[in-house]
Amino acid sequence: MARMKFICDTERCIECNGCVTACKAEHDVPWGVNRRRVVTLNDGVPGERSISVACMHCSDAPCMAVCPVDCFYRTEEGVVLHDKDTCIGCGYCSYACPFGAPQFPSNGAFGLRGKMDKCTFCAGGPEANGSAAENEKYGRNRLAEGKLPSCAEMCSTKALLGGDGGVVADIFRTRVLTRGKGSEVWGWGTAYGKPTAAKPAPATRS
């Protein structure tokens, strides 16, 4: 059976936030909740990288381990989901998650912390597939529609890949082997020319 995974190719991510927008629009995610976000490392310095981050649907998920009401479950495709009817909004999962995936709506006059919300890999929740109740609580169930997550399918540079772990890993491996590494990376030569031999350093006055 498929084991669903995300991979983000940092060489390709251009920080367009298309994945974030696609996710927001697909599931009517409320204000203040970001199931997916783009993180930039070394912003503004040469070699900066952007990476799209959401729930990674861990095989040994720490959120599942710490949840006091045991509201998490894993589908047979390896997608980590949760039951909002059981969730008490305690926030333990948020502390346990290394990716900051669990989100809590904070609207209201006193910063009310509601039920946890996170990326569902577009697989909905425990309600019947495609039902109004599922759509209202968790958003669309694209997997049951025979589609992949909206963020990955919407990614313009195909930096974000989603789907069966074996297939996406194979796509990524093929890509890396084809484009090479360092200055061989696809697009670098087009933008900056072929790498040339380093010029000798100018002589310094003594």
Partner: protein
Amino acid sequence: MNAFIGVLVLSAVALSLAGCGEKPQTASGRKSDQAAWQGTANTSRADTGWTAGDRESWALHMQKRAQDQNEYTRTSVPARASVSVSASVSASAP
């Protein structure tokens, strides 16, 4: 004496009924989820090319759809890699 017995009976009735307003506080536990391969109620938005309820066809369809993310198979740009994409898909198919 009768009044005392009446009060006793009334209080016993009131005490016995007190439990009726109590809501069960046992945890409902996790619900069982419907598998994705079983299809969706919202069939108008479902993709074609697979049969709802057939796990094998769903898995194959999802693998093909995942391959659509590979531009080397969608364009004429040849991949330099020695990895055969189509071979690995058929190998990983259930």
